[in-house]
Symmetry: C2
């Protein structure tokens, strides 16, 4: 086998079968995937969540993760944000001719590790190859299916005045980690991506209170964009307290130096929850027990005062409007 991806690896013929049988099946094997039919088949009964995401992050390896880990965690998290227990994922690769097969091995290794941690299975897949120069190394699509437990009703449209806003940890880690890697910037304390599967955190949260109304992971567009989406979908206002928002000193320093607003930086292992005020304390305590929720904090609340708007009480006193991301802060962050 060549050391690099050839166009013929995407032909559908012998080399495609070789690539699948030698590189993809051994690490990811399970009875559903092993059938190699056009679709995976399973029994299901209940409420099902279905989501998709393509991953085009540049660079494909960064501190704290790589495009493979991201592709599993991102889709696991999208399912989790509807309260679903992620079950099955599809994996579709678009490879650039000439891409290193040993780098592909590393990425498939990350996919395997992340899928094991999240306890999801890759059950169906696809591989395409495009000519050199017509894609950037590799792009990954994962779609996912999850089961929503009975009685769960989570949607961006469910926020009500008085509800508390809980953030699961520090913001901006992924955005800064990818950007520093891409631009070759080095800080004394290197920033690691927070890329992580949040399904177990969500399942713990839902056990502590079924009255969680909204859940979303602040990826592209950051915390500011997610909160603005909630205000629009629910027709409410949101008041944030700047000094309650957890942030690493190293991220703060990088943002100051580079002129980024951390509210717009991507995160890949964080979530925002909106919950009944009476339940917020116990949900927070439960989150802090989980490795991915250690730094969780209540960062604000929902209000009726200014529907469609997010207002932040700054540390210095005055309030400011926090708008949705406009333009492009950091391209190809996920």
């Amino acid at each position: 086998m060549s050391d690099n991806v050839l166009l013929a690896h995407g032909s559908g013929g012998k080399l495609s079968h070789d690539l699948i049988e030698k590189k993809l099946l051994p690490p990811l094997a399970n009875p559903m995937l092993n059938r190699l039919d056009d679709s995976a088949i399973f029994e299901f009964s209940g409420h099902l969540a279905f989501t998709t995401d393509s991953y085009v992050v540049n660079p494909i390896f960064f501190p704290g993760g790589d495009i493979g880990k991201l592709a599993i965690c991102g889709t696991v998290n999208d399912l989790s944000m509807n309260g679903a227990k992620p079950l099955y994922l599809s994996l579709s690769l678009i490879l650039e001719e000439g891409f290193s097969l040993s780098e592909l091995d590393r990425i498939v290794g990350s996919i395997k590790a992340a899928a094991e941690e999240a306890e999801v299975r890759i059950v169906t897949g696809d591989t395409k190859v495009v000519n050199q120069g017509q894609a950037d190394k590799l792009f990954i699509n994962t779609s996912g299916i999850g089961a929503i437990p009975l009685g769960i009703d989570i949607s961006g449209a469910n926020a009500r005045a008085g509800n508390k806003i809980i953030l699961s940890g520090t913001i901006g880690d992924h955005g800064i980690a990818v950007m520093c890697q891409r631009e070759g910037l080095k800080f004394s304390t290197p920033v690691q991506s927070d890329c992580a599967p949040l399904n177990k955190l969500v399942s713990q949260m839902l056990k502590s209170s079924p009255r969680i109304h909204c859940l979303r992971d602040p990826t592209r567009g950051g915390l500011a964009t997610v909160l603005n989406e909630f205000t629009q979908q629910s027709n409410v206002g949101i008041v944030l307290e700047e000094d309650k928002i957890p942030m690493k000193e190293s991220v703060k320093a990088a943002c100051e130096l580079l002129g980024f607003d951390p509210l717009y930086l991507a995160n890949e292992g964080k979530l925002v929850a909106i919950a009944e005020p009476g339940d917020a304390g116990k949900i927070l305590a439960e989150m802090q027990q989980n490795i991915y929720g250690r730094d969780a904090a209540i960062i604000g609340e929902v209000s009726n005062a200014h529907p469609g708007r997010v207002i932040m009480k700054t540390k210095l006193g005055p309030s400011r409007v926090v708008d949705m991301l406009s333009g492009e802060l950091l391209p190809r962050i996920c």
Copy 2:
């Protein structure tokens, strides 16, 4: 709004929302997609089929279709090949910065038309933008979910000696159409891609006989590759009769001129079925009633004589081994 895709259209912020709300939602709207949550949610009970495919065809417009129509039909067909009734699709776009928004409109129009013909709904999606020169115009991933009726057991592993092999129509149309468009070749009778959703054809076939053991669409790798996959998965041999395989005169002429073996050319609106000999006649008659099965024919049968091998009785008399596609015939055909 600019006439071209900007990096900021993939930022997750305002321009991403604009793109979704102005370009994607209006043609594809349905209550599940309109929620704009991270996942689509629906109730399901029974056997479910789940599949994924990325589409990177070059050129993106070709006689008889475009990448949008292909992305719907391809995934609808993958589900159908397990006997599933396709229900819900995801749609994930990777756009190159600078791609024409009016071409995007045309492609979304094709997606809408193909989804309507196949009676499937796009229920969840994603859009990414990569820098100019780091993708070739646009790539599309569609994943799909279908419901498998009770009592259906279709797999590439189910072929048995004596079974008949039915092909739904002429081979090579898609491969030749895309290749001629790409290379600027003109024949007196232009070849159109056969790109079509086959779910209704399959559902008619299954009504006429539940004893259809294998179904597969001969896309990349062509008829030869699919039949070889069947011989490997089922550990049987296959005997083909060359003069029974339907082919358009124009495709035959193009193949002779260009030196292609039509058995390896991609098809996007054809299927191969393997069925009980007693049922083959009525399945065939049923297929010929459907617009996408008009030229269906029984092209050979399954044998125990040479497991793992496809043998073709040629028109001139002698038999030859038909191997799986090795190397690359036509890259980026789907």
